[in-house]
């Protein structure tokens, strides 16, 4: 928890110092401060509080960044300094967050800490020089490029910060988390940065009228992000239900697919898979037994790991055929089809599913020592069936003090999008 504490302490210190400095000197350019404050508060109000998505409040973030990088206002130089930027952003974010807390949504300090630090960074880089008039002699395009460069730098720092926070909260490896954050910058992250730069430049040209004019396109972006997240969640629910068909039909024990998905995700994270690969792994794990629906008579207890290899492969191919008819990515069907192959011919996700499925089948309805015996069995099988690095990763995951799948037990069924999702508030994206 050290990184977490360091980040939070830094943010709190920054906020306190800036607040003190602003109280001491008073606010400059109050009209501009008010306009940006309102913009940021509105952005926070419309924050997406459903499934965790990257950039839940793009409008708030873009508004904060553009205030930090605001030079002139309709041609007149502005006088606000870095502490004032942080104070206004913090106050507006808190104000916009009040209704969310009122509705009983868990407030997370992470996004606030990230915003304070990243906005503070951008403002400290830019405002002192701007207030001294260093950029007055710069040509227009060079100035625009400077803003873009500063925003890129800020976004990189923010990604590192986000990955560090997520790492210390979840103990997932830092490298893949950082890679996913950086990849996220290419999507909506770049839109937010560009909007921040455009707003700062547009206010410099036409004054505060630029804010509402350019808010609207970004609100549209926010809306489509939200709809996308919603339909994604719905799709997950449907796939989870499809996965439960085998359990209801009595082919597999209740909760088996869900447990394999949760444990498989933990192993995948430990192996450093990217976000996209993890999604494929999760879907494939949920549907890995779907081929059994095509059997006329069920396999005893659904335990495919004990069947002859040819039979296992036949069921896997049947499952792949069903999965291909669903709308999920073709990669998922491939993983389902190849789950029974020898590990040397398998893609990583299929290796994980094979090992985790076997472990799950061997440990269910068995005593406390079954886990050790199952792991031992898997280790003996690393000659051909199970990939050694996956089995070792599984052992690491199981040895962790914290239960691997916080969301594994059937709790809050309809609310959470997938039971293998991390609990809300684990990873937050400002």
């Amino acid at each position: 928890m050290t990184a977490l504490r360091i980040v939070h302490t830094c943010a709190a210190l920054t906020a306190a110092v800036c607040l003190g400095a602003s109280l001491w000197t008073g606010l400059a350019d109050r009209g501009v401060a008010l306009a940006f404050g309102v913009l940021i508060a509105v952005g926070e109000l419309t924050r997406w509080s459903g499934a965790p998505v990257r950039q839940a409040a793009p409008l708030g973030t873009a508004g904060s960044l553009s205030y930090a990088l605001l030079g002139p206002d309709a041609g007149h130089p502005t006088l606000h300094d870095a502490p004032q930027v942080v104070t206004v952003v913090l106050a507006a974010s808190l104000l916009g967050g009040v209704p969310h807390i009122w509705c009983g949504r868990t407030p997370t300090l992470d996004h606030l800490a990230r915003r304070v630090l990243s906005v503070g960074f951008a403002a400290v880089c830019f405002q002192p020089l701007s207030n001294k008039g260093v950029f007055a002699s710069w040509s227009g395009p060079a100035y625009a490029l400077l803003l873009v460069a500063l925003l890129v730098l800020t976004a990189l720092c923010d990604a590192v910060l986000a990955a560090a926070l997520a790492h210390s909260r979840t103990r997932w490896p830092f490298g893949p988390l950082l890679r996913d954050e950086l990849r996220g910058l290419l999507g909506i992250g770049s839109a937010v940065c560009a909007t921040g730069a455009v707003m700062a430049l547009a206010v410099a040209v036409v004054g505060l009228w630029a804010l509402p004019v350019f808010c609207l396109p970004l609100l549209l972006t926010q809306l489509s992000v939200r709809r996308y997240a919603a339909v994604r969640a719905t799709n997950r629910q449907t796939i989870a239900s499809l996965a439960r068909a085998t359990e209801i039909a009595g082919y597999t024990p209740a909760g088996h697919a869900r447990r394999v998905a949760a444990l498989g995700l933990a192993v995948g994270r430990d192996l450093g898979l990217s976000e996209g690969e993890l999604t494929v792994l999760e879907y494939a794990a949920l549907m890995h037994d779907i081929g059994q629906l095509s059997l006329v008579d069920p396999v005893p207890a659904g335990a495919t790991a004990g069947l002859p290899p040819a039979e296992q492969r036949r069921i896997a191919l049947l499952g792949g055929a069903v999965v291909r008819q669903t709308g999920v990515a073709a990669a998922v069907a491939v993983m389902v089809e190849r789950q029974a192959d020898p590990y040397r011919e398998q893609p990583v996700a299929a290796r994980v599913i094979r090992a985790v499925n076997a472990y799950e089948e061997k440990t269910r309805d068995a005593g406390p020592e079954a886990a050790l015996r199952a792991l031992e069995d898997l280790r003996l099988g690393t000659a051909g069936d199970y990939a050694p690095e996956v089995v070792e990763s599984l052992a690491r995951v199981l040895a962790r003090p914290r239960a691997w799948g916080e969301g594994a037990p059937a709790k809050g069924d309809g609310r959470r999008t997938a039971l293998s999702d991390p609990a809300p508030g684990w990873v937050t994206h400002g």
Binding site: V198, V206, V213, V225, N235, D297
Partner: protein, 436 residues
């Protein structure tokens, strides 16, 4: 290989001629050629990417051109894009002509209106909020011309009746184009500012990302529909002779719901309820479902568990809403002799009563392995006989009325995905002619 009717060719040629007329005053004008070139290249590039990856068109650059350039020059902006961007269907020439002429005319009209209202001075002088007025008027003109031309094409190429050709075209396009117009205005203002075209380019990035996310949304939604189809097909695999039954029950449920005047959202829920009503059969052993002879009481009891299995399966899918209750209760009877709970009268959820009627109707009118299909009239008479004891009379009457009005033409897509015939596209290749 669909042929383009001669009238449509004539129509496109006429539009191209009009566009050429718009370009005529060009040599006499003082045109900023480098700005025009840059905008045209930008539009061609974004159009190429957007059309290839997401479909549809990308308006902010066009509108920025309308706000920046004199009308004849602005009409040139969409030209290179029409030549460069790929054409999916043959013949290519009229399609390319149309893709050049239609936006050229629309941009010309927008630029003309903008110019007349003094928008150019407002953009150069950053005269806000006045600049919004000419920009708004230009967006309106842009949309009007686009939908006018599109509607005309629908009439001549697709034979859509005159009354219906323009329905919904304008209202559907106005909101997205207005947002694009705001982005275009911002682009134009920044372009003329000291920060120059570099700053203007930045405006495009959020628009592009927004478009990308929107496309992802559509892909995910299509994926979701496929998942539901897969659920249904999984039932079809097990229960051979009910092929297409689920979808037809969905259609009959929709007919009843429309007749009862339910709102669109509920109608959609009932479609899902009808499609998924038998999903619980996944839980019944295949051997029982495929058994030909009479069932023993024990076997019958197992089959009668399917509504509960189905409810258990779809319980976690929140968007299904009351369709889940319909799945649980679609075998209840009005007199209380149904299963699983033996509910009576209005205790049975309304949507379950709808699905029960639709289910029985399709079971009677489709061929099963053990008997031939009955005619629609016989089935309706049978339903009316059982109304009050087994079925809700309101639903039966509604179904009979809907059948009188529209007839019964079940179209099943589940088995025949290969039938995806080339859709009747207008020459432009834009979706159903709607300006996007």
């Amino acid at each position: 290989m669909e042929a383009v009717p001669a009238r449509a060719r004539g129509y496109v040629a006429g539009a191209a001629l009009l566009a050429l007329l718009c370009l005529l005053p060009l040599p006499a004008l003082h045109t900023p050629w480098w700005a025009l070139g840059l905008l045209a290249a930008l539009y061609a590039a974004s159009e190429y990417v957007v059309r290839r990856r997401f479909g549809g068109t990308f308006h902010p650059v066009l509108l920025a051109g309308a706000f920046l350039l004199p009308p004849p020059a602005a009409a040139l902006v969409p030209l290179p894009a029409a030549l460069v961007s790929p054409v999916e269907h043959r013949p290519a020439l009229p399609r390319r002509l149309w893709r050049a002429a239609q936006p050229a005319l629309a941009v010309w009209a927008a630029a003309r209106v903008h110019w007349a209202l003094g928008g150019r001075d407002a953009v150069v002088g950053c005269d806000f909020p006045y600049a919004l007025l000419p920009a708004g008027a230009a967006v309106l003109a842009f949309c009007l011309v686009l939908s006018l031309l599109d509607g005309g094409l629908r009439v001549v190429a697709l034979g859509v009746p005159l009354r219906r050709a323009w329905r919904g075209l304008l209202s559907r396009s106005l909101a997205p184009v207005a947002v694009h117009g705001l982005a275009g205005l911002m682009m134009a203002v920044l372009w003329r500012s000291p920060y120059g075209p570099v700053a203007a380019l930045l405006v495009l990035l959020p628009m592009y990302v927004s478009w990308w996310i929107f496309a992802q949304y559509h892909r995910e939604r299509a994926a979701h529909q496929a998942t539901i189809r897969a659920l249904v097909q999984a039932v079809d695999i097990k229960d051979g002779y009910t092929r297409g039954h689920s979808e037809r029950v969905g259609q009959a449920s929709v007919m009843i719901a429309r007749e009862l005047g339910m709102d669109d959202e509920r109608v959609e829920t009932l479609r899902f309820a009808g499609i998924l009503h038998d999903v619980g059969k996944l839980g019944v052993p295949t051997r029982l479902l495929r058994k030909d002879g009479p069932l023993t009481p024990e076997e019958r009891r197992i089959i009668e568990l399917h509504p509960e299995y189905g409810h258990e399966m779809v319980r976690g899918i929140s968007f299904l809403g009351e369709a889940r209750a319909a799945i649980l209760h679609h075998h209840e009877r009005l007199d209380g002799s149904g299963y699983p709970y033996g509910l009576v009268g209005t205790q049975i959820p309304e949507c379950a009563r709808v699905v029960a009627v639709a289910d029985a109707f399709d079971a009677m009118t489709s061929t099963r392995s053990y008997r031939r299909a009955r005619p629609v009239e016989v089935a309706v008479a049978e339903l009316e006989r059982c109304a009050g004891t087994q079925f809700d009379p309101r639903m039966v009457t509604a179904l009979a009325r809907a059948l009188d009005r529209h007839g019964w033409h079940p179209a099943v897509t589940a088995d025949e995905t290969a039938r995806a015939a080339p859709t009747q596209q207008p020459v432009a290749g834009s979706r159903s002619g709607a300006p996007r």
